[in-house]
Structures are given as C-alpha cells and as structure tokens.
C-alpha cells in the first residue's frame, strides 16, 4: 500500500473543521531474549495504523485506527462529533500556523532492521555466550536483543507533508554476581543504528562483569548530605528528570503564575551550566527530525550559562503561550496523540577534566550509572554503581539506595562540568509521561560535580 498516495488522496471540504492532520505509522519491532542461554522469547511485531486529529471550536478530537482506507471518513466523523458536543467557547485558539512544506528524510534504506533475518539477530546475541560463560559465580543471566524500524507519513490541512524513518537496535546483558552469600545485580547495554554496531563487544562485556564483582562486598552508605560527582548517564537522567520535564510547556497551561515563575531570562543555576534538547542527531535514540505535528526539530537551550532560556512546545502549547514551536510534539505510536516530549537532552561540556572534579571532593560519592530516576518537586536518582570519593580520589564501592534533592538547589549547587561528553542511547525502554511509555529519547552530557545532595 502506497501510504503517501493514500494521504494525497484525502479530500476534506475546507469548512469541515478548523484544522486536521493524519499520521500513518508503519512499524516493525523485534524482541529476542535468552535466559541462561536458552531462547525464551523471539517475536517480530508488525503494526500499521493511523492517528487522525481534528481541531474545532477550541477542542481537539482524535481517533486511532487500523482502517487506512477510510481516513476521510474518520476526519468527517470527528468533525461531526465536535458539532454534536455543545460547549461555550469564548474564543477558539486555532493551532499554531504551519509553513507549508514537503520533507522526506529517509536515512535507513540500506540498514533497515526489518530486512535483517532473525537468524542474523540471534547469531549477534549468541556470539557473546562464550564471553559470559567464562565467568563463574554468575546467575540469572538474561541476554536481550531489541530493534525497531519505523516509517511515518504525515499530512495536515495546512499543507505540511513529511515522511521520515527511524532505525535502532540494542543488546543488553543483565545478571547477578555472587560472592558466597553476597550478591549484586547489574547490567550492561549497547546501542546501534545498524546490526553491525552490535558486533565485537566482548571486551566491553568482560570489563562490565569484572567491575560488578567489586560490588558484592560494598557496604551501605551512611545516610546524609554528600558532594556528588555524577557521570554522564546520571547527569543525563538528572537533566531529563529534574529539569527537562519542567521545561515541557503543557504543565503551564492555565497557570498564569507559572509563566512568571518560569520567565525566560531568570537565573536558575550556576553559570557553568547549560542544558539542551535537540532531536537533530541521527545516531541517537532521541533522533526526531520532525515531530508528530509536522514541525522541524531545533537545538533548544533550556538553560544557557545558568539562565532559563527556553522551553519545549507542542503546536497546542505554542499557540496558547504565544511562543514558537520547538518540534517537541511527539506520540509514542499511532495509538496516541502528540504531547510535549523531550528528544535528546544533555548538559553541554564544561572546562574541567574528570580528575579535576574528583580532586575537589574530600569526602563524597562518585555515581557511575543508574537504575532509574524521576523528577517532581524533589528529583530522585536510584544509582546502581557508586564509589566513595576520599581525599580527592575514587575509593571503595558503596551501596546507595537513592540520591535526591530539590531541583533549584541542585542546579545552584553545581560546581563544575567536565570536558568529557557522552550521550546515553538505548533501544530498551525510554521516557514515560502519563499513559505514553516508552518513547525513545537519549540523555547525557558532561560529568558534573554537585556540592550537596541527600544520599540514603
């Protein structure tokens, strides 16, 4: 079925509604799992569907459907639903005007993962069995493979047309290491844009497992306040959770006071800090050149040199807050409407070396990676591997349950950012917001020293 042709053939009378658009998504995902070297899951997941939007008299009406032959009918039906719903509207704010355009950004024709055989994908995983089997005292070994190829086609009533594709794959090994009765759960993951990116990773897997064994004897931290050096993965989660979500403009809707609190130009952090969101970078899991409403991505500074510099918008929030769209209206798949979401969120590099950051700490924590994180009034990070810092040097491994803090305090307590820069991409999971999880995103940046965080 030619989906572009299908969209071109849609013919809707001008007076049907104030705005409409259609997004067709064709996706193939693959998931392979080995538990203790036994193949326990192997599935290919094709889907094809469309999400239809109508804006009329100050409300949005949506429909998700797998019936691609009746897209016109879907729009007319939503418009009819709008007319049947009585409501008092003082002023209907039409969606932010789009500039008519036609874009086709197809980058993965030669490397499409749905064209790679299942046998090749299984061989890619099985190549690591020998590496993992060389370790004793390893249990609960789960080796997972995940990939996705997606192509989207879009048309709006404002004559915006686009097509773009997205291709990603990953391998993850999770395990429990044992030392007598002591144990530690850990994992290591890899990301690629083509299947070949997942080859020749034995050395990295070996290093990761060796480090995990250091943590079986790690003691729990004495709860309290400590300075923390966060590695790129932790920094990325901090940037995403602590500040990124607060930069999503939908939380400001209807809240006049929030507009003042989050006024552009306000100082919110140390001047060494700059946080960016951008979907431009092709090699990342947050790559999104055009959002699901037809707006091109851009490099948006959320914080630049410690100053609040921007926020993320969908078409709807742009119009209500009278600010330009940023290309952040994203949906998890064809079953959902676009809402304000991040893409690649990161802290820009600073001037210091990693050693400089560590040397500034007499007694503190080096947080290397994470299990999960979240951000509300207080942000929290549950780290996986942490080390004590003693007298300016990395010391013994330590078990930390949660690192937390108040967002603005933490932003002001940032004392330095490293020159090293690393983005964390993943083909497993992603960002969750309300009912839409997981959406592929990426995060990372420099390594960062925060002078005080609550550690427990």
């Amino acid at each position: 079925m030619d989906h572009i042709k299908l969209l071109n053939e849609v013919n809707i009378p001008v007076d049907t509604c104030e705005y409409w658009d259609i997004r067709i998504e064709e996706t193939t995902k693959c998931e392979i799992v080995y538990q203790d070297y036994e193949l326990t899951s192997c599935s290919t997941k094709p889907s094809l569907g469309a999400f239809v939007r109508v804006f009329d008299n100050d409300m949005w009406f949506y429909s998700s459907t797998t019936d691609l032959n009746n897209l016109e009918k879907e729009i007319l039906s939503l418009a009819k639903q709008s007319k049947s719903l009585k409501r008092e509207t003082e002023k209907s704010l039409r969606p932010y005007n789009q500039i008519p355009s036609t874009d086709k950004i197809i980058k993965s024709d030669d490397t499409r993962l749905d064209n790679v055989s299942i046998d090749t994908k299984k061989s890619t995983c099985e190549a690591y069995f020998q590496t993992i089997q060389s370790f004793e005292n390893l249990k609960g070994i789960k080796l997972s493979y995940s990939d996705e190829y997606k192509i989207k086609h879009f048309r709006s009533s404002q004559n915006v047309y686009f097509s773009f594709d997205f291709n990603q794959c990953g391998v993850s090994v999770s395990y429990t290491v044992f030392n007598g009765d002591k144990q530690f759960d850990d994992r290591v993951s890899f990301y690629g844009k083509k299947i070949g990116d997942l080859n020749n990773l034995s050395n990295e897997i070996t290093s990761a497992i060796k480090e995990s064994f250091l943590f079986t004897d790690a003691k729990p931290i004495d709860a309290g306040n400590y300075p923390v050096v966060m590695d790129s993965e932790v920094v990325g989660v901090f940037a995403h959770e602590s500040f990124g979500h607060k930069s999503e403009a939908d939380f400001m809707l209807g809240d006049e006071e929030a507009k003042e609190t989050w006024k552009i130009g306000k100082k919110v952090g140390n001047e060494c800090l700059s946080i960016v969101d951008s979907g431009e970078e092709y090699g990342t899991s947050g790559y999104c050149p055009i959002d699901d409403e037809g707006f091109r991505t851009q490099k948006t500074y959320l914080i630049k040199d410690g100053i609040l510099s921007g926020r993320l918008h969908s078409q709807h929030t742009s119009q209500i807050l009278n600010e330009a769209p940023t290309g952040n209206g994203r949906a998890m798949n064809f079953e959902f409407e676009p809402i304000v979401r991040m893409t690649n969120t990161y802290v820009e590099p600073g001037e210091l070396s990693f050693e400089d950051l560590i040397s500034k700490v007499e007694l503190g924590i080096y947080a290397k990676d994470i299990n999960h994180g979240s951000g509300l009034s207080t942000f929290t990070i549950a780290p996986r591997k942490c080390y004590m810092i003693r007298n300016g040097k990395i010391a013994e491994p330590v078990r930390v349950s949660v690192m937390s803090g108040t967002v603005f305090e933490a932003l002001n307590n940032i004392e330095g950012c490293s020159k090293n820069f690393n983005m964390i991409n993943t083909a497993f999971g992603g960002c969750g917001k309300m009912e839409q999880w997981p959406l592929p995103v990426s995060f990372g940046g420099s390594k960062v020293l925060v002078s005080k965080m609550v550690i427990s």
Binding site: E38, S64, K139, S456
Partner: protein, 411 residues
Amino acid sequence: MRKEILQLNEKETSIEAAGNKIASIRNKNITKSSARFFSVDKIYSASFVGEIDEKSLLDNAINNKESALEYKYSLNSLASVSKETFLEGKNIEDLLPEYQNALTEISSKFPDFIFSGKANIKRVSKKLKFLEEADLKNSYDACEWYFLYKHKSSPSIIDGFFGSGDIGTFDIKTEVSNYSKFLEAFSNEVTLEAGKYPVIFVDSSHLFSKILESSKADNYNKEIGLFRNKLNEKILNEDFTLLDVSYDTSIGATALFDADGRQRSNPKLPIIKNGTFNSLVTDSRNAQKYSLEPTGNTLRSFDSSSVLGFNTITVEAGQRTVEQILSNLPKCLIIEMAAGGDFTDLGDYSTPVQNGFLMENGKITGKLPQITLTSSVEKMFGSELVEIASKPFSGISKCPAIISNMDVLIN
C-alpha cells in the same frame, strides 16, 4: 498439535482535561491478534494489529520458522469459559458529563489550583480460542480516571493526584468529594521532626517488589533474591498475607485465564501466608523445569512470547477500617506521591516524598514538608508492621491500607 488464536479488542473513549477545562476527546477501536501453533516440541507464532482472518494468521505463524521456540512442558487441559462484566446502571456516554461536572465543581471550589487529568473508559474483549479444543472469553468495561492538581504558587509540575480505576462501574462524584479535605489542608504545611512515624502509602504496590522477585520460581531455584532459600520459613509479620489474585473484578483483577488458557480453581494464591513464605509462582515452562505445579502465572501480550509474571497483587484485609485505626494514632503520615524510591539488594528501602499529609487522631492537619522515608522489607512487613486495614485508603489502590512505622528524615 495445538492451534491457538488470541484476539484482543479495545474500544475506548478517552477524555483529557488540561488547565481546568476539557481539552480533547480520543476514540480508539483497535483489534490486536496473534496465533500460536504448538508442534511436538516447538511453538510457532505471529501477531497482527488490525483485522485479519484466522487462517492467514495461523499460516503466518506456521511459516515463521526462524522465531520458533522450543518447549518441553506438557500442554495443559482446557475448559471453555465466558464472562461479561459490563457497566450496570450507567452508560459509557455518562463518563464525559460526570468527569466534566467534577472538573467544573472542583476547579470552582478550589480556585488556587490548576486541574488536569484523564478519564478513560474501554470495553475490553479478550478471546482465546484453541481450535477444536475450547473457547475462552472475557469481556469487561474498565474505567480509569484521575485528576492531577498543582497549586498556582508551586514550582512543581504536579503537586498531587487522586482518582480511581474500576471494572464495571465508576463513581467520580463520591471520590472527588472524599478528596476535597486534602485540598483544603494542602496550603497548611506542618512542621515535623525527624523520627519514627506510622505511615500509609496510598498506593503500596511498589513496596512488594523484593518479595515478588524472590517468589519467581526461576529466581528462587537460582538462589536469586532477598528471600532465597527461605521457602516455608517465617520471614515476616504474622498478620501479613500477600496474595496474587487472578480474577476478582472488585479489585481490578481480570485474568480469568492465563496466557496458556489455565484457570485457577482458587483465584487467590498466597505468596506469603501469615508471615510465612508460602508459595512460589510458576508459568508453564518453569513449572516443568523445576518440577512444580503451574500456578496460572503465564503472561503474554498479543505480540510477545510468554513470560512468568504476576496477576493483581494485594494483601489480605484486616479487621478494622482505616478510620478506626487512624482515630487511635496520634500522628500518621499519608504518602500520596513518593516517586523515585528504591530498594537495595539487601532489602533496605528509601524514598523521597513529594506529596503527603499528616493525620492526627484521624483528622487531616496539613501537608507534609519535604521528607525522606527509610525502612526495609523486613521492617515494614515484619517487626514494624502496625496493622492492615479492612479496606484501601482511597480509590487509587484496591489493596487494603498497610500501616507501618518508618524512619523519617527531614530534607
């Protein structure tokens, strides 16, 4: 040879509130299907989103040889079953006016707050058809709704939330009315000293993760998990019984049959019984592997392979109501939002609290300051367990309220 067709249809209407008004309505009517073909020793499968005939789907599965999985377990016996739990006394169309009225009422009563949220009603139809063997059908109306609120002076995205999820019914008005007293108390932040306090989590489901991890048959037999080698031992408080419930629509449990079509004779499986580690949970594969009885815990979405998982987890109810218990407690912390907490491998627990309330002798006296709670699995469900109530604290969770003493750090 077994031939199986799974068909899942969800017809859904979803209403979104943003900035104190209804912002959008979404309609969805999508059918998702899969087929599995069991040969002597292999499972062949295929899935599809949209309409597809059974024969094409089965042919896709049989031809999908690269993805075949070996299996060694005996196929279970099957019995046809059919249940319907639809709305009684209300219609699907009633959701929009009821949610809209609640939004209008609460936003005018509490003008210092911004309300957003979602109400969602779906008619779920799940059919598991084993060709020439049995037809298993389960259909129900599921309604979930919530309001998020944010005080206008707050720097947070969200300050709190309330709502409910029910099968075959919804009652937004009563739940909103019950929650009003918390919004009234919100602006009064109390002072609290560090120390030990009785605590209720409005939703306690995440607190069971370490126990559940230990109860998976594969973990247990690999000696992984906090309670490894402790089966049949007393590990927690006498009053603590943790249940995996497959089917009881009053608590949102809708697994009338598991992914292999297995139906439990008793839907309640006690994982912990009166403090004793009573049972492991198994799917078909692990039951065979470790010579255990299958417990009806084979889970599978329409497009994935089957895995060992859990149904609806709850605790056995106590005797007294939450109100009776709280009226005798000089202070008790009600924890509404505690995102980001976690357990260490040793079972120690810590979480920051984003929103909570102080109740003194059963009355709400104010909002909690920013605190961190610490405890451990063995303390909160063992030595520091105060009591389990006869009912949940609110509509957010269907699990009876658990009151445990926890250590409070002031942030």
